[in-house]
């Protein structure tokens, strides 16, 4: 017997106007997968951050591009992949900065990747610039 896998895919134009659709999508699926309310909120935020980064950084706000989100869950895990065809980057080269330092430099960002790593159980990037960049996030289902 193989476990039943449920696969959901959403593909939308790369615009912050579509973050609300993306959040609706993942919150519904997270609830179906059996996450509790707090965990649903954590997943919602992590995926929002991941997609906002794609829209802003991978595509530089080019609204003709597409962002794809794939969610797959079985009994044990909920996996979310955020896929773009943008410029890519080297996640190991991004310094993790302190809130205090960011404020001192009057930055308005720099916290997204930290949130993603804090909220999800596993986070990995597979980067092929201009072809396919994939951020894979895993949330374990504790039952």
């Amino acid at each position: 017997m193989t476990a039943i896998e449920n696969t959901f895919t959403l593909d939308v134009p790369s615009s912050t106007a579509n973050l609300a659709i993306i959040r609706d999508f993942v919150t519904r699926i997270a609830a179906q997968a059996g996450l509790n309310e707090v965990e649903v909120g954590q997943l919602e935020l992590a995926v929002d951050e991941a997609c906002a980064n794609v829209i802003e950084h991978a595509y530089g706000d080019d609204k003709t591009k597409q962002v794809m989100i794939r969610a797959v869950f079985d009994e044990d895990t909920l996996r979310i992949h955020v896929i773009d065809t943008g410029q890519g980057f080297d996640p190991t080269q991004i310094p993790q900065q302190d809130l205090k330092d960011l404020i001192a430099k009057r930055k308005t960002g720099g916290l997204g990747m930290r949130l993603i790593k804090t909220l999800m159980d596993e986070v990995t990037y597979e980067i092929e610039p201009g072809r396919k960049n994939e951020l894979r996030m895993v949330k374990k289902l504790r039952k």
Binding site: L19, R23, D48, A52, L99, I103, R106, K107, T108, L119
Partner: protein
Amino acid sequence: MLALDGFLDAHTAPEFEKAIQDEIDADHLQLIVDCSKLTYISSAGLGVFMGFIEELRERGGDIKICGLSPKVDQVFEILGFHALYDIVPDVPAAVQRFTDAPVKEV
């Protein structure tokens, strides 16, 4: 005082940023942000609080944040905002805080 309603994400943050900028341009430096109707915040929303705070405090002002729901508060918490910002239960507490400590010591 500014009241936030609905969600504050990368799409709606620029509007909030402008609202704060307008207050500062009008020399309103003691800002209360009432989040009691805010249902969701992402780092783009938190970024608005980050960008202005130094300038405000240098000029003797501050931002007091109030009315956070548990869900929204969790995000402030994870990122360490509680150590660096005055976060209080409600609007009266925010007014009081401006009397007690006009500029938060960090």
